[in-house]
């Protein structure tokens, strides 16, 4: 069991029975962290594992839309109850700030301390139960949210996501430093948005280049988990919250399936 302590020395009860926690980080925005969390969660759950997802991106909580979940969080005696979605034969539990706010268009204009407090609550006050996996989605950067997660979950397993460009890899390189400083256990790097196959002539356009993530992994001596191509169909499904209803094979889902196999290898 994963037992973690907050800085106060209190056991973070909510996550104490979870077998594996993976935080998806980037440093760079818009590279596909939430997409990665959504698809990895779906892949794990549809193989029969019990999975939870926690969206720690409080200003831009995209994950709930992507997995097609809306609603309010309810509480019981033990704490908050996550919402859940079915995918194939499995289920995913989810917690997001979007389940706590009424007006989804309202900006969440919170300074660091309030964001920190909310994330601590998501970890300690939610009845996650005995999950096989909890995947944590994060905002870009290396700030309050990230520090809070690393402090609450010592030696947290991390998957890094980057797009191929040098501009993105530069931010992720800093994230690698963050991971070293916070003693995170980096499982590997995923390169997303890696090529687009023209639906008409099948020419593969490197819209954002290719290989930047792989080169970063080699430079940092971190496992390269794989490339994920640009997939407008996946983007469409995530926009409509229909991913889990249509969790069928497409190039990007296949890439994520291969990545998942590498992540759960013993």
């Amino acid at each position: 069991a994963v037992v973690s302590t907050q800085s106060t020395g209190e056991v973070v009860a909510g996550i104490s029975e979870i077998r594996n926690i993976i935080t998806v980080l980037s440093g760079k925005g818009g590279v596909g962290k939430s997409t990665t969390v959504a698809v990895l969660a779906g892949t794990l759950a549809s193989s029969g594992l019990s999975v939870g997802v926690l969206d720690a991106d409080l200003c831009g909580p995209s994950l709930s839309r992507m997995i097609g979940l809306k609603g309010s969080i309810h509480s019981c005696e033990q704490g908050w109850l996550p919402l859940s979605a079915s995918v194939g034969k499995g289920r995913i539990s989810a917690v997001s700030l979007s389940f706590l706010v009424e007006n989804q268009d309202e900006a969440v204009i919170w300074r660091g301390p309030k964001k920190t407090a909310m994330i601590k609550q998501f970890l300690s006050d939610v009845c996650w139960g005995a999950l096989d996996y909890l995947l944590i989605d994060t905002p870009p950067g290396t700030s309050d949210e990230h520090m809070t997660i690393m402090e609450a979950i010592p030696n947290c397993s991390v998957v890094l996501v980057t797009s191929p460009q040098a501009v993105a890899a530069a931010d992720v390189l800093r994230q690698v430093t963050f991971c070293k400083k916070t003693n995170a256990n980096v499982l590997g790097i995923i390169e997303t948005m890696s090529g687009f196959v023209c639906p008409n002539c099948s020419d593969c356009g490197l819209l954002f280049g290719k290989g930047g993530g792989k080169r970063l992994a080699e430079y940092c001596n971190i496992e390269f988990l794989g490339y994920v191509p640009i997939d407008p169909n996946l983007s469409r499904l995530l926009d409509r919250g229909e991913l889990f209803k249509n969790f069928q094979s497409s190039a990007s889902i296949q890439s994520y399936t291969e990545i998942t196999k590498k992540l759960i290898k013993p």
């Binding site: 939430s34 919170w110 870009p140 800093r174 963050f178 023209c198 490197l206 819209l207 640009i230």
Partner: protein
Amino acid sequence: MIEPENVPDSCPGPSSEGAGQMDGCAGCPNKQACSTGQFRTDTSPAEVLASLQCVRNKIVVLSGKGGVGKSTVTAQIARGLAALDLSVGVVDVDVCGPSLARILGVNGQSVHKSAAGWSPVYTLDDIAVMSIDFLLSSEEDAVIWRGAKKNGMIKDFLSSVDWGELDYLVIDTPPGTSDEHLAIVSLLKQAKITGTVLVTTPQEVSLGDVRKEINFCRKLRLPVIGLVENMARYECPKCRTVSEIFPATSGGAQALADSEGMPLICSIPVCPQVGQSGDNGVEGLDIPTEYGILVEQVIRFCDG
């Protein structure tokens, strides 16, 4: 000077724009006092005003969503203005992910401090740049700061840099609506933000975050120049088929602009050369003409 007591975590700061009037002020015992400016002792806005007195127009590029191209748009606005012989500065307040220096080809350079303040780094086309990139000793250095420390750096960027006389100062921001954004608004309270440019991509996942950013701008009464839709489409160089990479499922940026009553300035295609030139820090040769429309609109708004 009396300080407010029993301040909630959500306090926007007693000297900030909207102090006593924000959602975070609900239930605070100092709400009334803050809204009358009783605790407004922060001299930072006055310092920024003094520092930016020779800067004619201050533009802030915002999104709410990460990775939509804020830094690319900032760089293109700056380059476009500079090409018209206007004097331009850019400041990157994304201290965790300072992309702008790389895109403008000046990453890894150092800044010097004198009695007049920090000297910005100049690009080949004479754009003055300030970024935390110049203060880091290595590209591997991570800026692992909580919000309050980031605010201090942003204040320095606006009040302690020897910008000289500028026609435009363009400010690049990180995604979100948090410490950095509140800092910018608060610090520029007296110097005044001339206009904001909001950047999005077509899909609803982005539009949702940008809607929040628009509400942020409204709440804080920021002037909005308009919305830019980036990565709207991709034309295959081989067969010329146009594909939507991030398909719009809710009307795209046009629908958002219409519903929010603001102009959609332009809809920019994915252009691999823009990404490549950004990575290499050089000016691209085949830049979408839509960026020219954006620059014209910025000038029109500021001169109007």
